[in-house]
């Protein structure tokens, strides 16, 4: 058992603040998902954790011991990158064996561990091939195997699946989750995709502009984003946001859309709010009596294979509606979509969450 602790870590590069007062405490045997858009500071944070970069100010502690200035070579970490990084002149076998040989393990033991790890990642038949003879997915499996075989106390993955086709990504995600569940290391997995964070589960650390915006069990963060920014980062498609003014049990948008707020929403304070609703909580069909109908013009129907994302325009407001199944809708068509008032998020002036839908399942038992 060990812990990784970051105490008020800042990192400046030139004049730019890449990490801004990061305070985190990570425990072994757990998976942490760093979620944030490009340039949110995910890679910078991973590099500080690994010891590739030194924080400008602040401390890094492993197992209570200060390792802030210790070089990466003298730390027990493994890292997997976006690019498929393997030794091009080594076979898959030698690639996986390389960290063990560096440690000076005996031959038989190296062989045993290499074969075990290759089996976990389903690349046993490829052990004698060179990286150039593998597909992208197989190359990344090899890189992941090399990181796993080291049995480092800190395993860092920087968007490892981003360069793979989506079907491969889908398969590897599920496999990786199962693999990590059996590890005793601290696993940190950086991604830009909310879906990937949800598949990975564990703990989410949502980042934006070099700061930790929120951290907690992944599902809990998903269901209760602490601010509009977290909600925007942790939603794909991005959560629909509308500025409203609440007065007399009604929410009014500047464009004149009126949403009656009944039931448990009746006690909301008066005044200005930013209203958020996830695309999957909007529907092309009426699902309940309380649903509010909004008429709009179809801008584009994006079809993902098993879902349709309909981009609507209504009085200069853009909405995205997620509907299961494939629904070809012509651009420019007039159509209605429905909003369930029980699924609304309310964010205050500063963007902080004031009210989350009460109907959400919060048994984060997964």
């Amino acid at each position: 058992m060990t812990t990784l602790e970051l105490r008020s870590v800042n990192r400046l590069e030139g004049d730019e603040l890449h990490l801004d007062d990061i305070r985190l405490s990570l425990e072994s045997g757990r998976l942490y998902v760093l979620l944030g858009p490009t340039n949110a500071g995910k890679t910078s944070l991973l590099r500080v954790m690994a010891g590739l970069d030194r924080p400008s100010t602040g401390r890094v502690l492993i197992g209570g011991q200060d390792v802030t200035g210790r070089s990466v070579r003298r730390r027990n970490v493994a890292m997997v990158y976006q690019q498929f990084v393997n030794y091009p002149s080594f076979t898959v076998y030698d690639n996986i064996a390389s960290p063990l040989r560096l440690k000076g393990l005996r031959r038989a033991e190296v062989d045993k561990k290499v074969r075990e790890t290759a089996e976990l990642l389903h690349i046993e038949p490829l052990l004698q091939r060179l990286p150039a003879e593998l597909s992208g997915g197989q190359q990344q499996r090899c890189a992941i195997a090399r990181a796993l075989v080291k049995e480092a106390e800190l395993l860092l993955l920087d968007e490892p699946l981003v360069n793979l086709d989506y079907k491969l990504r889908e398969e590897l995600r599920t496999e990786l989750r199962a693999l990590f569940e059996r590890r005793s290391a601290i696993v940190v997995y950086a991604t830009t995709e909310p879906m990937e964070a949800l598949v990975m589960g564990g703990h989410a650390v949502v980042m934006g502009e070099g700061r930790v915006l929120q951290s907690g069990p992944t599902l809990e963060v998903y269901h209760r984003p602490s601010s509009a920014r977290v909600a925007a980062v942790f939603s794909d498609p991005t959560m629909n946001m509308v500025d409203v003014n609440i007065r007399g049990g009604e929410a009014r948008t500047p464009a004149g859309l009126v949403l009656p707020l009944g039931g448990e929403l009746a006690d909301l304070r008066q005044g200005r709010f930013r209203l958020g609703v996830r695309a999957n909580h909007l529907s092309l069909r009426r699902r309940g009596a309380a649903d509010i109908e909004i008429k709009g013009t179809v801008d584009l129907a994006e079809i993902s294979g098993s879902e349709t994302f309909v981009h609507f325009r209504h009085n200069n407001l853009d909405w995205v509606v997620q509907e299961a199944g494939v629904h070809p809708l012509a651009r420019g068509a007039e159509a209605s979509f429905y909003l369930d008032p029980a699924k609304l998020y309310f964010f205050g002036d500063t963007g902080a969450l004031e009210r989350a839908p009460s109907s959400l399942p919060l048994d984060s038992a997964a």
């Binding site: 597909s135 999957n280 801008d299 584009l300 129907a301 994006e302 294979g305 098993s306 981009h311 048994d363």
Partner: protein, 362 residues
């Protein structure tokens, strides 16, 4: 603009192909209507690039003919075919301005100046490139460069088709949908025949009216996005389209029904008749995770299964159950009750499909 037709078209990179695997493109025979938006979809190595190169004229097929509006163009060079192409990585003329880039194909064809100016202005307006029209193309962002590539096809009125070869590869994710919308808009306004090659289902299904799914050198389905989702013509389409893909279970003919391998479960009704017709083939039942229900309590129409795992993905849940030797995934809405130990699987018969030797039979 043209209707594109393939007659007994096939290609092998080998001089002397024997085995089916020697053919990069197995024999195909179909036509794309004039003014349609088509997508060629498949994983890498499925033959879609080979077909693209045959359409554009970079590659001469080993067998068969390509017709544009009934005219045989099989032996013609890309330039002689009047096609335009947008490549994976932006291809622009660095030293020219944006407007000069768009004018280039017209000037090469000695079009009168006034006409060039009119057409370029129209394309600039359509692609929202007026603000940068006098900037050097080299300094622009990737999405603007791809628009320029597209523009060089749009300005011409003699193009038979515009081909897109994975055009969004280098585009920032958050700009992708805007470019997709722009493509749609362009298609609605100009009605060019557009052919879009990609491995990304999202791009193909959003862009195209009709999608050609390719697998191991073969066209396994040509259909609308809805057809690909609801009636996959081949097991590969079921697997490849949709996330997660379709569930398949091997099955066999029993006396008056269709028995699922390794279980006591028998589907009655018209299935027996279908199965009898294909008795010699390898049979499998296919059903999408979206069309399976899981009930925590026993029901008349449900089969008891063993619960393997529940994955809560926020806006939906994936429940994996074991039915005999088969692992089956069901996709449930976010507020559906989660089974804890008992899971009863409900098939929706209208969404259950039967495959014989990987092909849809009912």
């Amino acid at each position: 603009m043209a209707r594109i037709e393939f007659q007994r078209l096939a290609h092998s990179y080998l001089a002397d192909p024997v085995a089916p695997a020697d053919w990069a493109l197995k024999e195909l025979d179909f036509a794309w209507e004039d003014g349609g938006a088509y997508a060629l979809l498949g994983p890498s190595g499925c033959g879609k690039s080979t077909l693209l190169n045959i359409i554009s004229g970079l590659l001469r097929p080993s067998q068969g003919r390509v017709l544009y509006d009934g005219k045989d163009v099989t032996g013609l060079s890309p330039a002689a075919r009047n096609i335009a192409q947008v490549f994976q990585f932006p291809v622009i003329y660095d030293t020219m301005t944006v407007a000069e880039n768009l004018a280039f194909p017209l000037r090469n064809r000695r079009m009168p100046r006034a006409e060039v100016r009119k057409r370029v202005a129209e394309a600039l307006e359509m692609l929202e490139l007026q603000p940068v029209q006098n900037r050097r193309a080299a300094g622009l962002t990737a999405d603007q460069k791809q628009k320029i590539s597209m523009g060089r096809g749009l300005v011409r009125d003699d193009v038979a088709a515009i081909l897109f070869d994975e055009p969004l590869t280098v585009i920032d994710p958050h700009l992708k949908w805007q470019l997709r919308r722009k493509l749609k808009e362009v298609h609605e306004r100009f009605h060019h025949t557009l052919v879009y090659v990609t491995h990304d289902q999202n791009e193909a299904l959003t862009f195209a009216d009709k999608v050609v799914v390719m697998y191991e050198g073969e066209v396994v389905q040509l259909g609308t996005p809805q057809e690909l989702f609801e009636r996959p013509a081949h097991r590969f389409v079921g697997y490849f389209i949709g996330s997660p893909g379709m569930n398949f279970m091997g099955c066999h003919l029993v006396e008056d029904g269709l028995g699922i391998d390794g279980t006591e479960l028998v589907l009655y009704g018209h299935w027996a008749e279908l199965a009898r017709r294909h008795a010699k083939s390898r049979l499998a039942i296919g059903i999408r995770p979206e069309f399976l229900d899981i009930s925590p309590t026993p029901r008349d129409d449900a089969v008891p299964t063993r619960l393997m795992g529940v994955q809560d993905l926020g806006n939906f849940k994936l429940v994996t159950v074991r039915l005999g030797p088969h692992e089956v995934v069901a996709k449930l809405p976010e507020d559906a009750p989660v089974p804890t130990d008992e899971a009863h699987l409900v098939f929706q018969p209208e969404w259950t499909r039967l495959y014989a030797d990987d092909r849809l039979v009912g």
